[in-house]
């Protein structure tokens, strides 16, 4: 699909047609044209939006009633017609088709019959399970094994379908049909609610069923699972045989007959698991006086009894209102994209349906509302309410026997009671999961309110995997350590309540501990447990520790990100003891500048990279002190991230600009000094280090105070001067002629060099266009600029004497270098102050693109802007605050953004209003054909996208997209791997098998050899001293043989081939012949370059002189080139 689109983009030959038809006038012909065009747009190969042009007659015909009402409905019920169409499409995609429904119904009828035909068994003791055949295992852990009661199997009293399938709110791709099997009353005994007896019977019931159904050829697979993650309540999964296996999963849930349990026994304050039974007889005496309540256990019992009443409630509410059903389906998609609905304690689709039902009952949602409105109101409710404090209830009776909400708040973190008033629907949900839901709802509401153009896309179509959503990811493993932690924290009642699930038991104390410890640094703490996988009926059920890992995600407040100090109470306060206990050995008494003596914890972190890891340090420490278990921190840390070096360079630049401001003796005073180099916006991949040249390494040119490279030595270190633009005050004295202005500027450059040397003793070197200044080992390149110069270059005089301004290549270049680049640099400099992670993200992103050998095609600035977009438009995420998260999102953005039909709007300083953005988009659509492939719009550059004017080409962009799409899952997997990320460099190594010719370079002449992705163990001396020595000689500037070589290659053979190289120490240049270059061409004086004449038939035609060219590669790079590897099997002349 992508390929096809790309081909069409690559050949702009049909764009003029489009333009023509767009310019077509009104009337009948116009109408025909537009119809044709729409068809064209509809054809799948097109892939490009065109401006719509409706004829006048079509636009202004009398509206029909139907049309009017649809338009009005769209206006009132949906945000815009686009949103309405999008929602409709999405629902179409996730809904079950009628045809499939019929097939499922047929399957369900079969299932029903088979279940009823399962034979019954004689009665035995619960503990006597010898009657169970060999091929099946009881799907619960029977700990402790001994339990009273007797069991025999009888076919279910009733088989009912419950859940979303019945309501029509189930969504693809995995369709589950929940079937409730009512266990006949004869099987159950009076006190089955006690001591897991009911759950044991339930499991045995399923085991017997499973054994018989597994023999049936109707079923493709018969397996057990814990659908909600609850280890006491397995269910049986049935899938049809044959090609329908993927179509549907039927889940069988046994449930007790109605009114079997007495509701008053199952209140959250009651105990139904006896300590004496659970912990053995030894504890009997000590604990018999006080039995701990078992709220979760009670809830699980209640859940089974309420299956049917819930479905009745939901079908009563959702029954006839299609808008509500749409809304529920949308909400389910929303939850799933955020990975909120999974496993035990997930915010399931059922729960969200109940929330909708609640909102209908409180009249916040009306049954006539559209799906979009339901989604919006529900999100609004989730964002604005707090169920951890003010629980809600679907029960409106004022029966005094019902328990109060406060009772539930005591037992559960989140409270949402069902219509019976006794069952907490949110019993399994932890506070942090609920807070995560709240957080997501708030973000989504902000997104909907911001009227962003593609809110739909961001809200419902963008997945938010944990690794991209959270700043820090921590894995706790192995999980069995949590069992020890439970013992240590004496969580016996919880374990008893949860049936021994120590992960759930420890989760609450763990999150509380971390929340307390991280305190104000923390914005959101989330945890994710991998869902328990289903298992074969002949296997033992999985253990609590089997998922292997508990993953924590942290989103931190930007302020608290890097502070090294944790301030405690004053030493004489009573809280000080608590503080000391909480932090353990890390807490120490400190005296502060204001004289206070306080308890405090100080974290060691020297560099920015280490500071970023402080939360890891804290979490690890807290877990060790508080829980006695270690966590494995996941970080992208490298030994040095160079942020300090960048800051040093910027400080030096600040000093220089102060010197420039204060310079006296210039004919005009300096009006502005602006940085225009990646270093000065913190996005240079490898920050510059102060240069201290060893003079013996160089040829010395004393009279010009310069060092020169020597042919007999390795290439000297690469020093890139940092460009600084220096504006001079306006004056009428400037000449009005372009050539003369250049001379005057040159005179200023000379004068500047003279003055800087005289007044501040800085070594300088002036040329016609710039002055190089050596300051503290950093080299700056000062360019004097005259504000009116671009305008003068633009002026053309018409024959009538009217002066008009027309862009010329020279004026555009000058404007870009002296106006737009400094503006961009200062805007991004500002962004870095707001978001400290920006620098890291931009540099990682650039490093990656260059490592893929594509750095030559994409400008520095365009990549910086893409990185900036991640911070300015983070929706649906929050702005990244760690480099690796930002880098992942960069890969995601690159691999998914539709460059063909959208400009990437980077709203620097928030200067563009919503209306302006809409305007920009429509202008974009209208002029798409003239714009570059990749369009990046900033407030300073609304139309032309200067930074992507010269590339990438469509093919290169496509290649980039493909590479990013490949790298993203690999990197995500590596970073989420609990055993450590492994070798992150994998995604940075470029594939080399696609190139036709490889030119191997000699490391001796690669000055940046050490910057390679796989840094060489040994490289050459580059003529630098480690000790600073006073030097007044200008070091070798910008001398990079591979770049010079590339420039020559591109100039000589750019019409035949593309050259790819990683400027950071790459040892190989990839050459790709252009697909057209081997086609024989008729002779023309202008295309003889590098070609030779051969006779084809009788006609003389030109083909590239490949052998000679391959030898030229070696000649042009004599000394640098080690070998030219031609993979001649890849092409034919």
């Amino acid at each position: 699909m992508l390929d096809v689109c790309d081909v069409t983009l690559a050949s702009p030959c049909h764009w003029p047609q489009v333009m023509e038809s767009a310019l077509e006038g009104t009337g009948k012909e116009g109408k025909k044209e537009s119809l044709k065009k729409r068809k064209m747009a509809g054809s799948p190969g097109e892939g490009l939006l065109q401006p719509v042009k409706l004829s006048r007659a079509e636009l202004y015909k009398e509206p029909t009633n139907e049309e009017l009402s649809r338009l009005r409905e769209t206006e009132s019920l949906f945000h815009s017609s686009l949103l309405r169409l999008q929602v409709e499409e999405l629902l179409k995609e996730v809904r079950l088709s009628e045809k499939k429904k019929e097939r499922i119904d047929a399957f369900l009828r079969e299932v029903n019959q088979r279940i009823m035909r399962v034979p019954s068994t004689p009665e035995t003791d619960l503990t006597n399970q010898a009657w169970l055949p060999d091929g099946v295992q009881v799907p619960v852990h029977q700990v402790p094994y001994t339990v009273k009661g007797r069991f025999h199997f009888l076919p279910p009293a009733q088989v009912t379908i419950v859940g979303s399938y019945l309501l029509g709110t189930c969504i693809r791709p995995d369709i589950n049909v929940d079937v409730a099997l009512t266990i006949p009353r004869e099987i159950l005994q009076d006190k089955d609610g006690l001591n897991q007896r009911y759950f044991r019977k339930r499991a045995l019931y399923l085991a017997h069923l499973a054994h018989h159904l597994a023999k049936d050829p109707l079923f493709g697979s018969v397996r057990f699972s814990y659908p909600n993650g609850c280890h006491l309540k397995p269910s049986l999964l049935l899938r049809p045989h044959g090609k329908d296996e993927r179509l549907v999963t039927v889940r069988l849930h046994p449930c007790p007959p109605p009114d079997f349990f007495r509701p008053c026994r199952l209140l959250p304050s009651k105990s139904n698991v006896r300590s004496a039974w659970y912990r053995g007889q030894r504890y009997c005496a000590a604990l018999s006086s006080h039995e701990p309540p078992t709220p979760h256990y009670n809830t699980w019992l209640l859940q089974d009894t309420a299956l049917e009443s819930h479905v009745q409630l939901l079908s009563a509410v959702l029954g006839s209102a299609s808008g509500l059903k749409d809304g529920v389906a949308l909400l389910k998609v929303w939850l799933r994209q955020r990975e909120l609905d999974k496993g035990l304690g997930g915010f399931s689709g059922f729960l969200v349906s109940m929330v909708v039902a609640f909102l209908v009952s409180t009249r916040k949602i009306h049954t006539t509302m559209s799906g979009y409105q339901v989604l919006r109101s529900t999100l609004q409710f989730l964002a604005s309410s707090d169920l951890t404090v003010n629980g809600i209830s679907l029960c409106f009776s004022s029966d005094p026997s019902l328990p109060a909400l406060a009772d539930f708040h005591q037992a559960f973190p989140v409270v949402f009671l069902d219509s019976s008033g006794r069952l907490n629907l949110c019993a399994d949900i932890t506070a942090s999961t609920y807070h995560q839901v709240q957080h997501e709802a708030r973000l989504s509401m902000a997104l909907l309110d911001s009227k962003a153009d593609d809110g739909f896309q961001l809200l419902l179509m963008t997945p938010k995997p944990m690794i991209q959503a959270f700043d820090h990811i921590l894995h706790i493993r192995p999980l069995s350590r949590l069992q020890a932690a439970c013992h240590r924290l004496k969580l016996w009642p919880e374990l008893q309540d949860l049936g021994g699930d120590y992960v759930s038991a420890a989760l609450g104390p763990l999150t509380t501990l971390l929340e307390q410890g991280l305190g104000s640094r923390l914005q959101l703490l989330a945890h994710s447990r991998p869902p328990v996988s289903e298992w074969d009926i002949s296997q033992e059920p999985p253990k609590h520790r089997d998922p292997g890992v508990l993953t924590l995600g942290l989103i931190l407040q930007p302020e608290g990100l890097t502070s090294v100090l944790e301030l405690g109470p004053e030493a004489d306060q009573p809280e000080a003891a608590d503080f000391r206990q909480f932090w353990g050995s890390r807490s120490e008494l400190r005296r502060f500048q204001d004289g206070a003596i306080r308890e405090a914890v100080v974290w060691e972190a020297a560099s920015m990279a280490q500071k970023r890891l402080i939360p890891h340090q804290m979490v690890t420490h807290l877990l060790e002190v508080g829980m006695g278990c270690g966590a494995l921190a996941q970080a992208f840390g490298t030994s040095s991230t160079g942020e300090e070096a960048l800051a040093a360079a910027v400080r030096c630049y600040d000093d220089l600009s102060r010197l420039l401001w204060g310079l006296d003796g210039l004919p005009l005073t300096v009006s502005a000094v602006q940085g225009a180099h990646p270093v000065l916006r913190y996005t240079e991949v490898f920050p510059p280090t102060p240069v201290r040249p060893a003079h013996s390494f160089y040829e010395q040119l004393r009279e010009l105070a310069s060092l020169l490279p020597r042919p007999d030595k390795p290439c000297p270190a690469y020093v890139e001067p940092m460009t600084v633009v220096c504006h001079l005050e306006g004056s009428g004295q400037w000449p009005q002629d372009a050539e003369a202005i250049r001379r005057v500027r040159a005179a200023f450059q000379l004068r500047l060099a003279e003055l800087l040397t005289q007044q501040h003793g800085l070594p300088c070197r002036a040329t016609a266009t710039h002055t190089d200044v050596l300051k503290d080992g950093f080299v700056f390149r000062i360019r004097v600029a005259y504000q009116r110069e671009p305008q003068i270059l633009k002026e053309t005089r018409s024959p009538e004497g009217m002066i008009s301004l027309r862009d010329t290549p020279a004026s555009l270049r000058l404007e870009r270098d002296t106006r737009q680049l400094p503006l961009l640099t200062s805007a991004l400099h500002g962004l870095q102050q707001q978001h400290p992670a920006f620098s890291g993200v931009a540099r990682l992103a650039k490093r990656w693109v260059r490592a893929q050998l594509l750095g030559g095609e994409l400008t520095d600035e365009s990549l910086d802007l893409v990185a900036a977009a991640l911070f300015l438009h983070p929706e649906p995420f929050t702005p990244p605050s760690s480099p690796q998260v930002g880098f992942l999102r960069f890969l995601f953005l690159i691999s998914t953004f539709d460059w063909k039909n959208n400009p990437l709007i980077v709203n620097l300083n928030n200067e563009l209003s919503v209306e302006e953005q809409v305007e920009i988009r429509s202008v974009f659509l209208a002029t798409r054909a003239k714009l570059p492939v990749m369009v990046i719009v900033t407030p300073q550059d609304r139309k032309s996208s200067v930074w992507t004017q010269d590339g990438p080409s469509p093919q290169i962009l496509h290649q980039l997209v493909v590479l990013a799409a490949e790298a993203l899952p690999v990197l995500e997997k590596q970073l989420m791997d609990p055993r450590g990320p492994g070798d992150i460099r994998t995604v940075f190594r470029p594939p080399l098998d696609m190139y036709d010719v490889l030119i191997r370079l000699a490391p001796r002449h690669i000055p940046r050899h050490r910057q390679a992705v796989d840094s060489p163990a040994a490289s050459f001396c580059r003529g630098l001293l480690s000790e600073p020595g006073p030097s007044s000689l200008m070091p070798v500037l910008g001398y990079d043989p591979p770049q010079l070589y590339l420039a020559q290659l591109r100039e000589a053979f750019g019409h035949l081939a593309l050259f790819f190289y990683d400027q950071h120490g790459g040892e190989v240049i990839g050459v790709l012949w252009k697909p057209t270059s081997f086609q024989p061409q008729p002779f023309k004086a202008s295309n003889a370059k590098g070609r030779m004449v051969v006779s084809q038939g009788r006609e003389p035609v030109m083909v590239p002189n490949v052998e000679a060219i391959l030898e030229d590669f070696a000649i042009l790079g004599e000394g640098l080139v080690q070998a030219v590897e031609a993979r001649s099997e890849r092409w034919t002349v």
């Binding site: 729409r38 747009a41 509809g42 799948p44 097109e46 892939g47 490009l48 065109q50 719509v52 409706l54 636009l59 202004y60 009017l68 338009l71 017609s81 686009l82 499409e89 999405l90 179409k92 995609e93 996730v94 994209q337 179509m461 310069s706 020169l708 490279p709 042919p711 000449p735 003369a740 001379r743 040159a746 000379l750 060099a753 070197r765 002036a766 009217m802 002066i803 301004l805 039909n901 002449h1005 070798v1036 001398y1039 020559q1048 100039e1051 053979f1053 002779f1083 003889a1088 590098g1090 004449v1093 051969v1094 003389p1100 002189n1105 490949v1106 052998e1107 030898e1111 030229d1112 000649i1115 042009l1116 004599e1118 001649s1128």
Partner: protein
């Protein structure tokens, strides 16, 4: 590699050096070591009757496909056996006239990186040109006696050459500005002289000088005036005053919605084609 060699051998045995009507081909190599060569395609420089060309007829050789490492001096040396060479000019593409400008300043117009170029070689005598046409190479650009630098050595020399001499630059700038100032002064003097003097049709040019100049004759200025006028008119107009105006506004609204709807439909169509509605 083997296959390629065989192919090349076959090609060369077919026709010797492949030729082109009107041109003769001269093989050229960088040095003895190279196995295969590029071909210079040369012919006499001729122009159609009436076209002006600054290259002298009969003596000028037009050379195509000059490799990047071959400089003007090189070419002159290689062709001098045919007869004394007067001048060699390398250009990016064929141009009839010799570029008229005076030699450009090396400070303000740095030499571009060379690719494959065309050359006009002017011999002192017509005989040199005809001898060159019959030349059978292969020519060697770099020989023992006249080595040509390439690669690292060339870059180091280029770097050395690029280190500027501020004094020379200053001298050049001063010289240029002097001539420029003189030129401006002359123009002004001329303008002053002409002030008030009618031209041959009797028109007198009047220019206003002073602190408040008149509107400049630029496009931007005239656009600005038009815009101001338009705004003034818009302010005076009444909105929805007449019933028909009201009706039209409503109709316009519906038309806008319809247009938007069409656009949206198109976008949806496109997204559907790209499978943009698969949520996961």
């Amino acid at each position: 590699m083997v296959a390629r060699r065989r192919k090349r051998a076959a090609r060369e045995s077919d026709s010797g050096v492949p030729t082109l009507p009107g041109y003769s081909a001269i093989p050229i190599k960088f040095s003895e070591k190279q196995q295969s060569s590029h071909y210079l395609y040369v012919r006499e420089h001729k122009v159609r009757e009436g076209t002006k060309s600054s290259w002298p007829q009969k003596r000028t050789l037009f050379v195509l496909n000059v490799p990047p490492y071959c400089t003007e001096e090189c070419l002159s040396r290689l062709l001098s056996p045919c007869g004394p060479v007067q001048s060699v000019k390398l250009q990016e593409k064929p141009e009839l006239a010799e570029s008229p400008k005076e030699p450009q300043s090396k400070f303000f117009h740095p030499k571009p990186v060379p690719g494959f170029q065309v050359a006009y070689v002017v011999f002192q005598k017509p005989g040199g040109m005809s001898a060159a046409l019959a030349l059978k190479g292969p020519l060697l650009v770099s020989t023992e006696s006249h080595p040509v630098r390439s690669g690292v050595l060339k870059w180091i020399r280029d770097y050395t050459d690029s280190v500027p001499d501020p004094e020379a630059l200053r001298v050049e700038v001063d010289a240029f500005m002097e001539t420029y100032d003189r030129k401006i002064a002359e123009e002004e003097a001329k303008a002053k002289e002409e002030e008030g003097v009618p031209d041959e049709e009797g028109w007198v040019k009047v220019t206003r000088r002073g602190r408040r100049p008149v509107l400049p004759r630029t496009e931007a200025a005239s656009l600005r005036v038009l815009e101001r006028e338009r705004r003034k008119r818009a302010r005076k107009e009444l909105l929805n005053f007449y019933a028909w105006q009201h009706r039209e506004t409503k109709m316009e609204h519906i038309a806008q919605l319809r247009k938007k709807f069409e656009e949206d439909k198109q976008r949806i169509e496109l997204m559907r084609a790209q499978r943009k509605f698969r949520p996961y």
